[in-house]
Every structure is written in structure tokens, then in C-alpha cells.
């Protein structure tokens, strides 16, 4: 399986790059693909926290916003180029994460989640009222993405950048899961007592995973700013948080392509099976609730379950009766 996998990954990546072209090459298609790539990167950042660390971070919209606002302010007011704005975004977001981590270091998981949620709401207030962040009008006029002479003036030209960002993110996530930090995070998730007795400090691991995940989500915000050419406080609306969370749980936990698939499914519904903005909201929220309540293994878990039941119905069952609580 492994050598075949090694061959197929670069092939799949290439196919992915070419897919919008192969399917017609329309501007709308490039736009959707770019958006999917950006939101998938955003979701991967959250995935590290939810699936690996096993906690709920509701502050990731803030990281996304930090990436977008930094790119917007740095490019429109200080004329910095994309690479500089990216680096700046990451620095700023690490500062924000550092602050959050410092404050929440010794808190239990639900208070921790409440604090992250509060951070997002406060950020929303700031973004809507603070003149430095453009207030309710936001920051318009972000210049086109231009790096080393390559200028992306339309969706088709921005797509390879988005694709590249997605690829880098996937590589980082895989590397994380194979690293010592990734292993430590899973241990903390599944058995905090064992982690502590093995010399792993859950608090430090939580901070480290955050420091690793925030820049990923921030980079998605960074590119989003260039795609939309403006940034405003609506980037902190609950939509992005719900979108991220649903994408992370919909397909299944800890499958490397799950967040990407999740985002693709959701955006597909929004673009091609939409029933209006409000109904879409209800659909998205309902999917999240139902998957969590009834499909803990996501869609993959559902298929596996069905397969098992089909397989079992072909055999006479001699299992003893299991009792309910």
C-alpha cells in the first residue's frame, strides 16, 4: 500500500491543480475551487485542535481574521507585498495566540472554550467599532496578489496560489501527526493521566498545538483578503466558525483529506443546491448537530457501519443479547 501511496499523492496533487481547467475553466469554477482551498486550509488549523488535541477552540475565526486584516492593512496602508504580509500575519497571530494561551493556561476545557468564544465576540466588537480596523466599512482596495513578477488579476491566476497553500498545509498536518508533538497531543486527548505520568504537560502541549495551528488558519485569512480585495467585520460572523467545525466532523476524524472533503461538500451545497441564505444556515447548523449527535464517526463511520451490518446480515448471528442502560 505504501509505495503505491507514494506514487499517487503527487499525481493526485497535479490532478487537483488541473481540475478546474479540465472541468471547463470558467471563472466561477476557479472561484469556487479557490474558496474551497482557502476554507479547507482554515479548517485544517481547527482540525489539529479538535481532532488531535480533543478540545474546542472557538477562537479560530479570530486567527482567520488576523490573517485577513493584517494582509489588508499592511498592503493598503504600508504597501507591503504578499510574502511580507504573510510573515507579518503569522507574527501577529502568534502574538494573539500567545496571549490567549497565557490567559487560559491553567483552565479546564470548558472554561477554556468559553474564553476562546469570548475572544471571538470581543474581536467582532473591535472590528466593527475601531477605526484602525476600518470600523463597520472595513478595509477596501487590497491590491492584486503579486509575487516575483507573477500577478494574479483574476480567479484563474489566484487558483495555483490557493492550491499551493493547500498543499503546504496538508504536508504540515501530516508532518505534525507524525511528530512527537502530534503524538503527545493524541496522548493528552485520549488519556490525560497517562500523558502526565509520561512527563507530558497537557497545558504546554495545548499551547504548542495552538501555536502550530493558528498560523495555518491565519494564512487562509491572508489569502482570503487577496481573493476578496476587501476585508470587513463580517469575516468574524459565526458562519466561518460553524463552517470550520462542520467540515472537521462531517467526513470523519483524523482522516487527512476529511476537512477538505467536508468543505467541498458544504460549499457544493451552497453554490448548487442553495435554498436561500437563511435556509442554508439552517442546513449547515443541522448537519453539524446531526453528525455530532448520531454519527460520531462522520460519513466514513456511517459507511463502515452500513458495510458491517450488510456483512453481518449475511451470517447467522450467535451474539449474546446486549443490555441497554
Amino acid at each position: 500500500m505504501k509505495p503505491l501511496r507514494m506514487l499517487s499523492w503527487p499525481l493526485m496533487a497535479l490532478l487537483l491543480l488541473l481540475s478546474p481547467t479540465l472541468f471547463g475553466g470558467s471563472s466561477a469554477l476557479y472561484s469556487v475551487c479557490t474558496t474551497i482551498a482557502i476554507f479547507a486550509v482554515m479548517a485544517y488549523g481547527l482540525d489539529l485542535i479538535v481532532s488531535d488535541l480533543g478540545e474546542v477552540s472557538l477562537a479560530h475565526p479570530v486567527f482567520f481574521a488576523v490573517g485577513a486584516y493584517t494582509a489588508a492593512i499592511a498592503s493598503t496602508r504600508y504597501g507591503l507585498g504578499p510574502i511580507e504580509t504573510l510573515v507579518l500575519s503569522i507574527i501577529v497571530v502568534l502574538g494573539v495566540v500567545g496571549f490567549i494561551a497565557f490567559v487560559t493556561l491553567r483552565l479546564h476545557s470548558f472554561i477554556f472554550s468559553l474564553v476562546t468564544y469570548a475572544v471571538t465576540v470581543v474581536a467582532m466588537t473591535l472590528a466593527s467599532n475601531w477605526a484602525f480596523l476600518g470600523g463597520s466599512d472595513g478595509i477596501p482596495g487590497i491590491p492584486a496578489f503579486e509575487v516575483f513578477g507573477y500577478r494574479a488579476v483574476n480567479e484563474a491566476q489566484l487558483w495555483p496560489i490557493a492550491w499551493g497553500l493547500l498543499l503546504v498545509t496538508l504536508i504540515l498536518v501530516v508532518a505534525f501527526r507524525r511528530s512527537k508533538m502530534g503524538y503527545a497531543a493524541m496522548t493528552v486527548h485520549l488519556n490525560p493521566a497517562l500523558a502526565r505520568s509520561s512527563g507530558i504537560s497537557p497545558e504546554r502541549i495545548r499551547m504548542q498545538v495552538f501555536l502550530a495551528s493558528a498560523p495555518i488558519t491565519a494564512s487562509a485569512g491572508w489569502l482570503y483578503a487577496y481573493q476578496r480585495a476587501y476585508v470587513s467585520a463580517d469575516i468574524l460572523s459565526p458562519y466561518f466558525l460553524i463552517l470550520m467545525l462542520t467540515a472537521v466532523v462531517l467526513v470523519g476524524r483524523r482522516y487527512i483529506l476529511a476537512p477538505l472533503a467536508g468543505i467541498a461538500i458544504i460549499l457544493f451545497q451552497e453554490r448548487f443546491l442553495s435554498y436561500g441564505a437563511y435556509v442554508d444556515r439552517i442546513i449547515l447548523g443541522s448537519v453539524l448537530v446531526l453528525v455530532l449527535s448520531f454519527l460520531p464517526g462522520g460519513l466514513v463511520g456511517l459507511f463502515r457501519d452500513l458495510n458491517r451490518r450488510i456483512g453481518r446480515s449475511r451470517q447467522p448471528h450467535a451474539e449474546s443479547q446486549t443490555l441497554k442502560t
Binding site: 479546564h108 468559553l114 462542520t246 443541522s286
Partner: protein, 288 residues
């Protein structure tokens, strides 16, 4: 505006905060559930009250109980769907699920009630009271009276009734409560109904003070969170006192510094407290 006026405002707002938070803290104390849909349930309560009055032509005194019933029903449905997660104490999934519920409620409200702001006028809010230099409305008086009555009733039920006793048993040790023949599932459902009803009542009482929007509700979660953490999880008395304290803080901060940032300021205050006292929040309902 003079000093005393701010105190009055603070007390009124504070009682409102206490009433908004009480359902949430009971839910947390008894079932260890964090309901992130709380703010949207508040919004729904406000809008059901408004809709009943403006579109269905019902009087405020009928609209309010309707909102409370709808709130209880929403709470029941939420918990019924999430029941597996609650029993398994999968708190991470519960948190995300309630977030999802809140989002659904927002979508439903926007679809049903539209996305423009509305003013919730009640027979009480339209009647002003002037007392020397001070000004408030009959609604304000109602908020204070209803909150006090509610808290007293709740304390009596929790401490002296058999229902309250069952709830305290489940709050302390749900497994042992099973061995005492208590149907823990029904207690969880009941507590979520209570949360829905309480926050709807709070909305019907407090929302007349400002325009209501279907996108509101986030501020309420922060305020609730601060009140609960300050007052002690599951503590009835604590929520009341913390609510008052925060109310007065908000009134003065809003008057002398900035109204738009008062929620943010509250949050900063809370952060400071958490940093200095990270272990202060482990009380359960049983300690009421």
C-alpha cells in the same frame, strides 16, 4: 445624569443579567453542559414575544408565557437530540452541538421574523416613572421584581422540594442517582427545559430596553459567562450577586467610558480574574 441614576440603571440591568444567566448556570451545575446556543435562545424569546404582540395582536401578558413555553420546548428538543452526548458526558461534542443549534435558531428566526431591527414595546416599558431626578419605566421595576421572585422561588424549590432534591442528587453524582431510582435522562431534559424557559422569560422582560435583532445574542453569552464564573457555577445566590455587580459595572462603564465597549471591558475584567484565580470555578449545583 447623576450618580444615583446610574446606580438605578445598574441595578435594573444587573437584575436582568442575573435572570439571563440563571438558566445557564443551573444547566451547567446540574448536567455539566455548556449551552452555546444560549444567546440565540434569548433572541428567540425576545422575538416570539414581539411577534405575538405585533403580528398576532396578543397582549404582553399572553405573549410572555407563550415565549416561555416556546423556550422550554426548544430546550427540550435540543436536549432530546443531544441526549446520547450528554449521557456519555462527551462535553466537547455537546459544546459544538449547542453552537450548531444556536446557528439553526438564528437562521429560523431570520427566516420567520426578518433581519431588520424591531422595538419590543410593552405596556410597562411605555410607562415612565419620575422620582425626583430619577427616571425609569415600569418595565424596569418589573424586571427587578420578577427576578427577585424567580430567584426566591428557585432557591425554595432547589433546597426544599423533592424535585429539587432529585436535581441536586443528579448534580452531585448521576451514577449514584441512578441507583436511587432516579431517571437521570428526565432530569437532564427537565433542566434544559428550565434553561430554555428561564432565558425566554429574561428576554421577554429585559429585551424591551433596546432594539432587537435576529443577529443579537452573542453579547448575552459573554455576559452570562461572566456572571456564572464570578458567581460560582450552579450557585443561585452567587448568580444574583454577580449579576448585580456586573450590572452596576456596566452602567458606570457605559456612562463614563464607552457604551460600545462595555461587553469587551467585562470580558477583560473576567480575564484578569481568571489569570489571578484560575481555580475558583469548581463548584457544583449541590453547593448552591
Amino acid at each position: 445624569m447623576n450618580f444615583l441614576q446610574h446606580v438605578i440603571n445598574g441595578l435594573v440591568i444587573g437584575h436582568g443579567y442575573a435572570l439571563i444567566a440563571i438558566g445557564w448556570t443551573v444547566l451547567l451545575g446540574v448536567a455539566r453542559l455548556v449551552n452555546f446556543g444560549h444567546g440565540q435562545m434569548y433572541m428567540l424569546g425576545a422575538f416570539v414575544t414581539w411577534f405575538s404582540m405585533s403580528s398576532l395582536g396578543l397582549s404582553y401578558w399572553v405573549a410572555l408565557p407563550i415565549a416561555v413555553l416556546v423556550g422550554a420546548l426548544v430546550g427540550f428538543i435540543m436536549q432530546r437530540i443531544m441526549l446520547n452526548l450528554t449521557i456519555r458526558q462527551d462535553l466537547v461534542s455537546v459544546m459544538i452541538a449547542t453552537l450548531g443549534f444556536g446557528y439553526i435558531l438564528e437562521g429560523v428566526a431570520a427566516l420567520t421574523f426578518g433581519s431588520t431591527g424591531q422595538i419590543l414595546d410593552t405596556p410597562l416599558s411605555l410607562r415612565d416613572v419620575y422620582w425626583g431626578d430619577l427616571w425609569f419605566t415600569w418595565q424596569d421595576i418589573a424586571v427587578v421584581l420578577v427576578t427577585i421572585a424567580f430567584f426566591i422561588a428557585l432557591k425554595l424549590v432547589v433546597e426544599h422540594s423533592s424535585v429539587g432534591r432529585r436535581v441536586r442528587m443528579v448534580a452531585e453524582d448521576p451514577k449514584l442517582a441512578l441507583l436511587a431510582g432516579i431517571n437521570v435522562k428526565w432530569v437532564y431534559l427537565g433542566v434544559f427545559c428550565f434553561e430554555g424557559a428561564a432565558v425566554a422569560l429574561a428576554a421577554g422582560m429585559v429585551a424591551p430596553r433596546t432594539p432587537i435583532l435576529t443577529s443579537m445574542g452573542f453579547d448575552e453569552v459573554i455576559i452570562t459567562f461572566v456572571v456564572v464564573v464570578l458567581g460560582g457555577i450552579g450557585s443561585v445566590t452567587g448568580s444574583y450577586l454577580a449579576g448585580l455587580g456586573i450590572g452596576i459595572f456596566t452602567a458606570f462603564f457605559g456612562a463614563y467610558v464607552s457604551a460600545a465597549y462595555s461587553t469587551a471591558a467585562m470580558f477583560v475584567l473576567l480575564i484578569a480574574l481568571l489569570v489571578l484565580r484560575p481555580n475558583g470555578m469548581t463548584q457544583s449545583m449541590a453547593r448552591h
